[in-house]
Amino acid sequence: MHAHPRAVAKLLSFLLKMPVRLNAADDWRPSLMTERRLLELKMEGLLRPRTLSSRLEWIAPAVDHREPRPPRGYMVSFAKFHRHGLGFPPSRFMRALCHHYGVELQHFSPNAITVVAVFAAVCEGYLRMMPHWDLWLHLYRGELFHAPSGTTGVRKPVQAGCLNLVLKTGKSEKPREYIPVGLTSNHAGWNSQWFYLRNNDDLLPAYTGCLISERPDHWRYGVVQTHQPRLDPILDALRKLRRA
């Protein structure tokens, strides 16, 4: 027996109006990363050699580490991040993003790493400049991801991957100013591929495991108005690239 379309629409309307409640945080998944798998990442050219200095560059979590307990001077990274363009030591742009959004490395989602990597490549390889901060703020905003809890209207903060970086939309139709970025939605199992990565000279924030349950206002900040005109020649160049 099929439900009447009007009844379905009414139910949907009711569900959409329900306030979203937050439940307990989504737990960490045990890591599947082993020394061997990390070595494979290195062989793929995605990690640096393990022993560049007296301290190991990367370490597989111990078997009894059900959630991250990185040694002092190490943080938590994911295999996917490195497949999507993260490298160490981190660029100043990557460091600026952590500082601006007030996040630790594990807070980035895999797609956030991809959009940042693509943006850096567009700036350097095509616009011939270092990643441009005002252009970044003009095009992108931060959004907080909460995982479904299994109960309608209830979502859970996540320990890893809570920061999504999305193209700004609205009246100005900013996506038309940038290149098409259609991201994959298939990241199955990414959050069980974490490991410890040396935080060279503390260039990125130390791991504290803090949980972000509300989106800070500044994640949506744009460019300072007085800086906006400076973007015009760059946006013009982007338009040319888009048409090329």
């Binding site: 490298g87 290149i179 020649p233």
Partner: protein, 94 residues
């Protein structure tokens, strides 16, 4: 120009965009020291087009094909477009 093409150019060149490098991507050409070039790349060994395409598909939606790898080369590679003046004074040093 699409994100998929940009990522394919990145993997084709064996670089990680979010790693600190001595050279900007558009500076990785003739006339620079081989030491700096090596410090930019994660490997001197080229990936196959199939492998590059697989890496792109892992990040970008759609069926990116090996024949499209490096279809929009970065500067200063052969075939890169030169419509854009450098904006060297903006942004971050790596």
């Amino acid at each position: 120009m699409t994100a998929a093409l940009v990522l394919s150019a990145v993997h084709h060149r064996r670089i990680l965009p979010l790693m600190s490098r001595p050279l900007r991507m558009d500076e990785m050409g003739p006339g620079v020291s081989s030491r700096d070039l090596e410090a930019c790349r994660m490997s001197n060994e080229a990936l196959t087009d199939e492998e590059v395409a697989a890496r792109v598909r892992a990040a970008i939606a759609g069926d990116f094909k090996p024949e499209h790898v490096n279809g929009f080369p970065m500067r200063p590679d052969k075939g890169s477009i030169d419509q854009v003046s450098p904006f060297s004074t903006y942004g971050f040093d790596s």
